[in-house]
């Protein structure tokens, strides 16, 4: 058996060399995406997002307010105008993500205690930008009111600690665990890049098997493998397993060693999970091929349709817990979902592995599942022909 694995593996490696597209997909795509996502989210948290200031009042008080708002982390006033319509049009042109509006008479109303109303508008079709701007503008509006009371209380002779105890008795101290800088790259790049690699693994698994039928070489392969399905599959997929694992490890090294992303469990352990993720993606690809035995195109279509969905269903952008029940269930068939939960448990939080043993087991199960249906593969080798 070992000998046939060796022969088939060598045959497969030679085939890689003849298919440039394969090499492009194997090496350039994952590494290109590594570069794309890490440089795209280099800032970690987007800052200085463009916004407009509509200061209809234009007094020294409102200018002071806007200066303070201008110093805030996320907000960058690229436009100052007196007309709200103008700002709204800029929003529709996509130049700004938010508008901070101080209506006419704000200062006067504030000084005479007539409760002025200031307003801010965020463009929530750009969700991330809008959320970040909203946070800043809200804080600022809240502070503006407090600042007024503080001025009054200071004039009345209160000490600053008394004033703070009155104005803001309860302070909320937030601790985002595992990712204290709220670096988006840590929760996105870290999963999208491995996710894309896993998608590539699924696709190439069904591609490299299916190409045998396409070239009409499946019977030949079956003969070299002496009819041993396990040997054939191992021989075909082992070179890819090794290559993809190496690429996965390289990605791990870039993330956790070069970019210094938080890694509580140590890099070697992340490499182990990477290896498991590769195996399980190969299992997924193989399973799809067994679902459509010998039909490379259908297997690849299934892999791609499901494989792209795994980015949504894995739950790192929109949490699985917020989805409807059928999708919560469906998310379990995707290796990326399990890899994601293991990553959060191990790498981000540094918890004990026993808390995610089900996810580890699921990855192993997805890897082993094709074994159950290997008879379909045998039938395909013996009886199925390529269908264009």
């Amino acid at each position: 058996m070992l000998k046939s694995i060796w022969i088939i593996s060598r045959r497969e490696l030679r085939a890689f060399g003849r298919r440039p597209i394969f090499l492009v997909i194997m090496f350039l795509a994952p590494l290109g995406f590594l570069w794309l996502f890490t440089s795209l989210m280099q800032a970690g948290l987007p800052t200085k997002l463009p916004a407009a200031l509509v200061d209809e009042d234009d007094t020294h008080v409102t200018r002071q307010l806007t200066r303070i708002l201008g110093t805030m982390e996320e907000t960058h006033f690229v436009m100052q105008t007196k007309s709200f319509t103008e700002a709204r049009q800029a929003m529709q042109r996509g130049e700004i993500y938010g508008i901070f509006r101080i209506p006419k008479g704000t200062t006067e109303a504030a000084l005479t205690q007539r409760q002025p109303v200031i307003s801010f508008y965020t463009n929530d079709t750009y969700y991330v930008a809008a959320s970040l701007l909203m946070k800043d503008m809200r804080k600022m509006s809240e502070m503006a009111g407090l600042a007024m009371t503080r001025a009054t209380m200071r004039a009345q002779g209160f000490r600053d600690d008394q004033i703070m105890g009155t104005l803001q008795p309860i302070v909320v101290e937030s601790h985002p665990l595992g990712n204290p800088y709220l670096n988006y790259s840590v929760v996105l790049s870290n999963l999208i890049v491995p996710g894309l690699l896993m998608l590539v693994v699924m696709l190439t698994t069904s591609y490299s098997l299916g190409i045998e039928w396409k070239r009409g070489r499946q019977k030949h392969l079956y003969r070299i493998g002496r009819g041993n399905i396990s040997a054939i599959v191992l021989g075909k997929l082992l070179p890819q397993t090794l290559l993809y694992t190496l690429i996965f490890w390289l990605i791990d090294l870039v993330f956790y060693s070069y970019l210094q992303f938080p890694c509580q469990c140590g890099i070697p352990r992340m490499m182990l999970w990477g290896f498991l993720a590769v195996l399980s993606s190969q299992g997924f690809g193989l399973l799809m091929f067994e679902a459509f035995p010998g039909q490379m195109r259908m297997a690849m279509s299934a892999c791609s349709l499901l494989g792209v969905m795994q980015f949504s269903l894995a739950g790192f952008s929109f949490p699985v817990s917020a989805m409807d029940a059928p999708f919560q269930w469906l998310s379990n068939i995707f290796p990326l979902h399990h890899y994601f939960l293991i990553y959060v448990n191990q790498c981000l939080n540094g918890y004990h592995i026993s808390y995610v043993w089900t996810n580890v087991a699921a990855l192993v199960a997805i890897f082993l599942l094709p074994q159950l249906f290997s008879f379909r593969l045998r039938n395909a080798f013996l009886y199925k022909e390529y269908k264009a």
């Binding site: 200085k48 529709q92 205690q113 109303v117 105890g165 009155t166 665990l177 792209v308 808390y355």
Partner: protein, 394 residues
Amino acid sequence: MIRPSFPILHVWWDEFCELVKDEGILIFVILLPLAYPLLYAMIYNTETQRELPICVVDDCMTARSRDLIRRVDATPEVGVAAHCINMDEAQELMRRRQVFGILRIPREFDMQLWRGEQTVVGLYSDLTSMLYYKVEYLAVINVAQELNRNIKVREHQQHTTAREEQLARWPIRFEEVKMYNPAGGFAAFLIPPVLMLILQQALCLGVGMSMGRSRERFRGLVIPPTRHYKNTLAVVLGKGLVHFLIFMLMGFYMAVCVTRWFGLPQQGHFLDLLGFFVPYLLACTYMAIFWSSFIFRREDCILLFVFMSVPLLFLTGVSWPGASVPPLWKVVGSVFPSTWGANAYVRIQGMGASLGDCRQELMMLWRLAGIYFLLSCFMYLFEIRRAVGRSVLR
């Protein structure tokens, strides 16, 4: 070139018949654009996280701390799923993923408030998803601010009239308006750009498959060896027209049906949408035709195009703010119609912008359509010459 309309129709009809007969292409050209939008809309249909389970460690155990907990529990964003004796117990629940945040009220909470001092409440969020942090923070900060106002006016300042109290509560009022997506939901934000991306990717896959099939069938040529395929312009227009027309239908299915069924933002006027879809789909069609010429096997197009979807979504600047995309990637993104198309569509359909407001995007789409059209012409010219050279085309 004498009767250009006739070969166009011939190519168009040929291509259309081939497409209908080929289930591989049909999957990508019909099933994918019909089913995928529904699937995505259903995934994100819940829009946002509601009643996220968190646990509370109340070291204070007073009426006031219980009041805080009740108020946090009453927010739509989070629900108090457990009361823990100490942080160890709470952390254990977090590790088991039974709760996704811990609210810790310190022992001296009530005492400090009575003394008129500041007290600190700790919120520990699981960052499995950024959304968890957002909803927990919002819920707790809203409650804390409300309580702060109560403490300020009831315990520290004496007011004689209700109006005075109201003024002390809110010296300045503020209004927070979420424009174009009032629920602040995920579906309304993510689905529109995804729809545009589905159109582009489905076109690439469909065209790629038919191109790969031609190459396989006609010994490496992208055109069948008949005389109708001698005219470059006719081939380019005829082939483009098939996909363009099908995807115009798909575009309106997405912009009208899917949008209406799932209650997505629907501000666009029919003519504005039409004025957008024509250049967008033309650009997509000819981009697909041009890039597909590099495909030599049917299945290769799946390998090449599928995994581009996720990076392209990020390059549109809708999911990751465009203002934070580095210049190099802006340039890379600008060669794909989806970058301009997603932005223009989001603006027209989501924000009710007119065609004039999206002038830059539309100009770029027309330019891309022109460039890719010319590139496709050159590609076919080259291919037809090659066919004539090999004298298969007579």
